[in-house]
């Protein structure tokens, strides 16, 4: 059934592309962000309707069934996932997108068998390879984040050699496919891409996984753009390019916030470095306190800065943290939340988390904004954060986080840590601040500790 002529189809695709641009533009302010996302979704609907109305399609019932299946699987998961598991989910969705792009490219190969279609076959092998890398790589990041496997870097002797061999073979296959259009070799390329994706992500340490997700996101975008070139579809080209650009910017921003280079993160393991430090725990004494001690510190302060971290997300303590802030405010104490750009496991993770607890985003202070204020603060309350306040980033040149800008909590008169143990954070290195004289530790799950402290503050 063809209801739309090519001109109208192209116009609808253009409309969808504009919707996607507007969706990203909407994210420039929290106020319009949600509407922007809906505009983007509407654009996707327009595009899908356009393709049904414009092309002579067979198998329509099957296709509709598959769409229904995909929706039935993804929508409930997306609606129910816990916010702490968001990175995994994004990795998963990213992977399946890359996989879809690779499959589309594979199936288009027979249509690009002509003598003059070498350029097209080039786009096809690109999509195949990058899509497969993205699929497999995202799968491994998912497994790491979901703790289906170790979060530590997996390195084995000869890894670099194996990776090199795989890449060389892939390059050979790719060249052969471009020149000859061979289908079996395209399948081989797909397989090699999968292996390369796994090998690429295995040696990345847990703390760097979000960067890899963002990078693979950009990869998938590029694969989709290339498949748009294959299909001559402007919408795919524009959408894919937008995602490629956004993934690139995000990856760079994250790496910069961690004081690292993207290359170092991805290929550090191949050069022998590793993102994980030593986990030997020292036996030095620390000062631990009771919830009541902490409540006294907080309740008689004039200025308190709360530093949330990954642990707050794990404990789902954001609502309690907001209530505590509220209780302190009622005592006339000024309370701010200091947000480190890579606290948690995704860029801006803490913003999402605290927004969920209805903390207005104006109350969330960015690192550069608040770092000068710690010296006027009576208490810095560090809830489930570790790496982002670890002074090793400034003092220990060999440390994996060396060079990362940190929140200067040690400037505050008192520092309180809420964490469960002396175990290090995701980067796997010890935090000297825990042993400093001005530091008090309150051991336990963040949410439970916060609840106890809140009760104690109310009882003051």
């Amino acid at each position: 059934m063809i209801l739309l002529d090519p001109l109208w189809t192209a116009l609808l695709y253009l409309l969808a592309a504009v919707c996607f641009i507007l969706a990203l533009k909407g994210l420039s302010s929290p106020r319009h962000a949600r509407r922007g996302n809906l505009v983007g979704a509407a654009g996707a609907v327009v595009a899908v309707v356009a393709v049904f109305l414009s092309a002579r399609l067979d198998n329509i019932p099957w296709i509709l069934g598959s769409i229904a299946l995909g929706t039935a699987v993804a929508a409930p998961v997306a609606r129910r996932v816990r916010m702490t598991q968001m990175p995994q989910l994004v990795a998963l969705f990213n992977g399946v997108g890359g996989g879809a792009a690779a499959l589309v490219a594979l199936l288009e190969l027979p249509h690009a068998a002509g003598q003059d279609d070498a350029w097209m076959r080039l786009a096809i092998v690109f999509t195949l390879l990058v899509g497969a890398v993205s699929f497999a790589g995202s799968g491994v990041t998912f497994a790491k984040l979901q703790e289906l496997m170790t979060t530590r870097p997996v390195v084995f002797p000869g890894l670099a050699a194996v990776m090199g061999a795989v890449l060389l073979a892939a390059l050979g296959c790719a060249a052969a496919v471009v020149l000859l259009g061979s289908y079996p070799l395209a399948l081989a390329l797909l397989g090699l891409g999968l292996v390369a994706g796994v090998l690429l992500v295995l040696p990345v340490g847990g703390a760097d996984v979000p960067i890899v997700i963002s990078l693979l996101n950009a990869f998938t975008g590029l694969a989709v753009a290339a498949s748009g070139l294959v299909l001559g579809n402007v919408l795919l080209v524009v959408a894919g390019t937008l995602v490629g650009a956004s993934g690139t910017i995000l990856t760079r921003a994250m790496a910069a916030a961690m004081g690292r280079s993207v290359g170092g993160i991805m290929f550090g393991a191949f050069r022998g470095g590793s993102t994980a430090g030593s986990t030997a725990m020292s036996e030095r004494p620390v000062r631990s306190g009771s919830p009541e001690d902490v409540a006294v510190l907080l309740g008689y302060a004039q200025r308190v800065i709360i530093v949330p971290g990954y642990g707050l997300a794990v404990a789902q303590g954001q609502h309690t943290a907001a209530e505590l802030a509220q209780a302190l405010e009622e005592r006339g104490i000024a309370v701010d939340f200091a947000i480190h750009p890579v606290a948690g496991r995704m860029p801006g993770h803490m913003n999402v988390l605290l927004a969920e607890a209805d903390v207005p985003y104006e109350a969330l202070k960015e690192m550069s904004e608040i770092n000068g204020d710690f010296r006027h603060a009576d208490v810095a309350l560090v809830v489930g954060a570790n790496d982002v306040v670890n002074p090793a980033a400034k003092t220990t040149p060999g440390s994996p986080i060396y060079g990362m800008p940190i929140l200067e909590v040690s400037d505050a008169r008192q520092v309180v840590f809420l964490k469960r143990s002396m175990r290090p954070g995701f980067a796997g290195i010890e935090n000297e601040l825990l042993y400093e004289p001005q530091t008090t530790l309150l051991f336990g799950d963040a949410k439970e500790s916060l609840t106890k402290v809140l009760a104690a503050v109310k009882g003051l």
Partner: protein
Amino acid sequence: MGGVELLTITVLAVFVGFEVVSKVSSTLHTPLMSGANAIHGIILVGAIIVAGQAADPIVLAVALLAVVLATANLVGGFVVTDRMLEMFRGRRPGPGAGAAVPGDAAKEVRE
């Protein structure tokens, strides 16, 4: 469609992408990641075209797999982004609101 036009479109899209995304506030970087992730699910359009042209059952099966994967990416991506952004609406009206707006209170205290 000509290669040069597609290249031109790609180049312009790169500029649009970089300009637009570099204006996204870091507060919204997580939704940006998942929103961009949703957008590349539009490969669904390509998957539908391929599936609609499939004659061979194996090809059809592979194409339908691509449709399922792409749909999951597209739908899941937009839903999860919407959920996240819903939290950014700011203060919710209603009974729960008063208990959870430390920011405003903070301003009162400091001024």
